[in-house]
């Protein structure tokens, strides 16, 4: 019976809320913002290609679109070598080769030679940018079969620009063990001296000095005499990291800031909602107890609430986070436990006025117990307040977490918006606007969304504020 009557009531409220959304522009924009954030946070793995800490670009490069906006002529973006193919060198006689592609980065080569020779497994790139890449990074990985310690094959990796020369060897190794995987990461840092340059030379700039056709070559030199072997190149890749990247650029570690922003939205929403949930729950319990039980309980609880209200919250947060440790869970709990006072007072005053209403007296007269009255009569009357406060206190929790993270008390494994700002502030290259602006805008807009929704909920639940139509 009671369930039947409750469902339409909820529906009416939902209908009212939807009507409010269509009537009030502020409520609508708040809801829209909130939905954008929630969708962005939920779809983070789809919308981004990398994790927040994964290196996918050169360090501290601006967003790709800035080149168009500011009209920069010298810019470059991330680009990769492609078009993997194997070929023989004409110097070898009696050399036959059979290759099968196994994906864009892998190739399987069968070789049959009578008197040695070389095989070239190469990828090409038509470099379209006038500016050089800042860094490059690649992998070569090969499993030979049919080689031995007495008859090894030799593998060399180098890069080549048509007519301008070769740069190598990036890797040079003798393949002696059949079936073993030979693996090497090729990075622009640390290779300078091997290629004959002064340490600290920007290899990207030296090698990719302009537009043109480049190739990345894995050269296999076969031993003399009749030789039959199979080379499985499981990976041959090379990525060039340009001086601009993606939607929001990269941080000092070369991670995607857009990805950090979306994953950070997840954390911020979680911190805000869970911490506020704890705070609202505590406030509800304490407020209900104080208001309904009254007398000594009320006096003690409210004195305690007043004391907690006076104590400055940020220093207390700092002290607690330092002492208890700053994992994300700890921070959420601390924020929750410091966010109940205002709501407790509100609930108490509401309960004090509800307590004297005739319907409570009627319930008491018909023998209802304290628990029954609280859950069936008082609680439904303050549910609206709860929603409103939930929405209105989320921003405080989000900003609180960001402030703690900014002070270095955040969870080091969680890239929250506050953490992003802390890292941006500590970065040595000065502040980068594409790193500083997005998290702050995120915090501000998410707070705004919750405040707008909160006020519109307030209008819905608080009859005194409802506009007359």
């Amino acid at each position: 019976m009671s369930d039947k009557s409750r469902v339409p009531f909820i529906l009416v409220r939902l209908k009212n809320f939807l009507r409010l959304l269509t009537k009030s522009r502020l409520a609508f924009s708040g809801m829209l913002l909130l939905i954008i954030f929630i969708v962005g946070a939920a779809a983070a793995p789809i919308l981004t290609t990398s994790y927040p800490t994964e290196k996918v670009a050169a360090g501290l490069v601006p967003p790709a679109w800035t080149a168009y906006v500011f009209g920069a002529t010298r810019y470059s973006q991330n680009i990769q070598f492609g078009g993997l193919a194997a070929s023989t060198n004409t110097t070898g006689t009696g050399l036959s080769l059979q290759s099968t592609l196994a994906g864009p980065d892998a190739i399987d080569v069968h070789v049959n030679s009578t008197s040695g020779g070389t095989i070239l497994i190469a990828k090409t790139l038509n470099y379209p940018y006038s500016a050089s890449p800042l860094e490059f990074e690649g992998t070569v990985s090969i499993i030979p079969t049919g080689v031995s310690a007495t008859r090894p094959a030799n593998a060399i990796v180098f890069m080549e620009r048509k007519d301008l020369g070769q740069y190598g060897p990036l890797w040079n190794s003798s393949l002696v063990t059949s079936g073993q995987q030979y693996h090497q990461e090729l990075q622009s840092f640390g290779l300078e001296q091997r290629l004959g340059f002064v340490a600290g030379t920007n290899l990207g700039q030296v090698i990719f000095s302009g537009k043109g056709t480049y190739s990345l070559v894995l050269m296999l030199t076969l031993p003399q005499g009749p030789f039959q072997a199979e080379f499985v190149v499981t990976k041959l890749t090379m990525s060039l990291f340009g001086n601009s990247f993606g939607l929001l650029g990269s941080d000092a570690q070369g991670a995607d800031i857009f990805s950090q922003l979306l994953y950070g939205a997840r954390l911020s929403l979680m911190v805000g909602l869970v911490a506020t949930g704890i705070g609202i729950g505590l406030g509800l319990v304490i407020g209900l107890m104080a208001g309904f039980l009254g007398k000594a309980v009320d006096e003690i609880l409210m004195r305690f609430t007043d004391m907690m209200l006076v104590i400055p919250s940020l220093p207390l947060l700092i002290v607690l986070a330092t002492v208890l440790g700053s994992s994300l869970l700890n921070i959420i709990i601390i924020l929750g436990f410091l966010g109940w006072m205002g709501f407790a007072r509100l609930v108490r005053s509401q309960v004090l006025s509800l307590r004297e209403r005739p319907f409570i007296e009627a319930a008491k007269a018909s023998g209802a117990g304290t628990g029954y009255i609280l859950s069936r009569h008082i609680f439904p009357n303050i549910v609206g307040l709860t929603y409103v406060n939930l929405a209105l206190s989320v921003p405080a929790a989000i900003v609180g977490e960001a402030a703690l993270s900014f002070l270095g008390l955040g969870d080091n494994s969680a890239i929250t918006w506050g953490k992003m700002l802390e890292l941006a502030n500590e970065s040595h290259g000065g502040l980068a606007w594409w790193w500083v602006v997005p998290p702050g805008v995120g915090i501000a807009l998410l707070s705004l969304a919750f405040i707008l929704v909160g006020y519109s909920l307030d209008e819905l639940f608080n009859p005194r504020l409802r506009r007359r139509r």
């Binding site: 002290v319 330092t322 900014f406």
Partner: protein, 342 residues
């Protein structure tokens, strides 16, 4: 109950609050793990041959009830005994020794100029935020409903709700890094060995002070503006304002002499409260701008796990807030003859 009784009650309340803060501060740091860990670490460290050194350290950090300097023998104090010494220390502002510098905290606070720096920053930003907030609030209230009104209300809400650290970073980015108008942080230039001529000195210091003070001012003026506007709107609708206007008084006199004076009560108490809360708000701003004050000290204490400093700063900030609350209560009681003393 008269005014005296009201003040007495507030005073008792304040004392209870201070007790509460001391107990809270003591118990939070009791939660710290680590004593056992430190002891086993000391015992297992092969470089430390004299194991009795533990007693020396325990004495140094006030953990002993009896200590024999000759043998380094330490009788550990019970938590209750420690609380007693702690309690007396807090009341006498004897905060112990900073782990970072090894100096007494009270001395570090004053002799390094931290207190002075913080007072300058907070003083300037409080004065400006109050002036701007109150004057704008009065004007905004007098032009209720116009674009001027909604514009300033929205602006102050925005600046009030933006995180201060982000505002600070943006200002550094724009005004220090790109435009080079102001230094990105610090209190005075590192290169100053001896102070330059007075005018240069003042100009450069003002340049260093500008950005942090601006951030704090922007953060605090909004609250004053909104409060002034609200109380002004209330008092502008009173009959005596109509009378004053009917008398032919200038609008300026009506606003400031008649309306603001009667609306000033909540503004004054709020200003007192704001001054107490400033120190807490300054932590982040001082950190962003590397302003070597008390707030920045807390930040560096976090990094060094300098617990005595954190404990002392939390206590001092809480004391400021409590004192501000007390002052606000007194002001309210003295200024408003209508107040009802329960």
């Amino acid at each position: 109950m008269g005014l005296r009784g009201y003040l007495f009650r507030r005073a008792i309340n304040t004392i209870i609050l201070i007790l509460f803060v001391i107990i809270l501060n003591f118990s939070i740091f009791q939660l710290l793990p680590g004593t056992q860990g430190v002891i086993s670490n000391l015992l297992q460290n092969p470089r430390i041959t004299d194991k009795s050194i533990i007693g020396k350290y325990q004495n140094q950090f006030g953990l002993c009830s009896h200590f024999n300097p000759a043998t380094n023998a330490c009788t550990l104090a019970t938590p209750w005994e420690r609380f007693q010494t702690y309690f007396v220390n807090m009341l006498t502002f004897n905060f112990g020794v900073s782990y970072q510098s090894g100096h007494p905290i009270f001395q570090d606070m004053i002799q390094t100029g931290r207190l002075y720096n913080t007072l300058i920053l907070l003083g300037v930003s409080t004065v400006f935020s109050l002036l701007i907030g109150i004057f704008l609030g009065v004007f905004v209230a007098s032009k209720r409903g116009t674009l001027f009104d909604t514009g300033w209300v929205t602006t102050s809400l925005v600046t009030y709700s933006l995180p201060t650290f982000w505002m600070g970073l943006l200002f550094i980015l724009i005004f220090a890094q790109n435009l080079h108008w102001f230094p990105p942080g610090g209190v005075i230039p590192f290169t100053w060995q001896t102070p330059p001529p007075l005018l240069v000195y003042l100009a450069v210091r003002a340049q260093y002070l500008f950005l942090p003070a601006l951030v704090l001012t922007l953060y605090f003026y909004g609250g004053h503006l909104l409060l002034t506007r609200a109380t002004m709107l209330e008092s502008l609708s009173e009959d005596y304002i109509t009378t004053a206007r009917a008398k032919g008084l200038s609008e300026r006199k009506v606003l400031f002499k008649h309306a603001l004076k009667n609306a000033s009560l909540p503004i004054v108490t709020n200003a007192a409260l704001a001054f107490g809360g400033l120190l807490g708000g300054a932590i982040i701003t001082e950190t962003v701008f590397n302003w070597d004050g008390l707030g920045h000290w807390i930040f560096s204490a976090i990094g060094y796990k300098d617990f005595p400093v954190m404990q002392a700063m939390f206590y001092i900030i809480a004391l400021c807030v409590i004192a501000a609350n007390f002052v606000a209560d007194i002001l309210l009681g003295v200024l408003d003859p209508r107040i009802k003393y329960e």
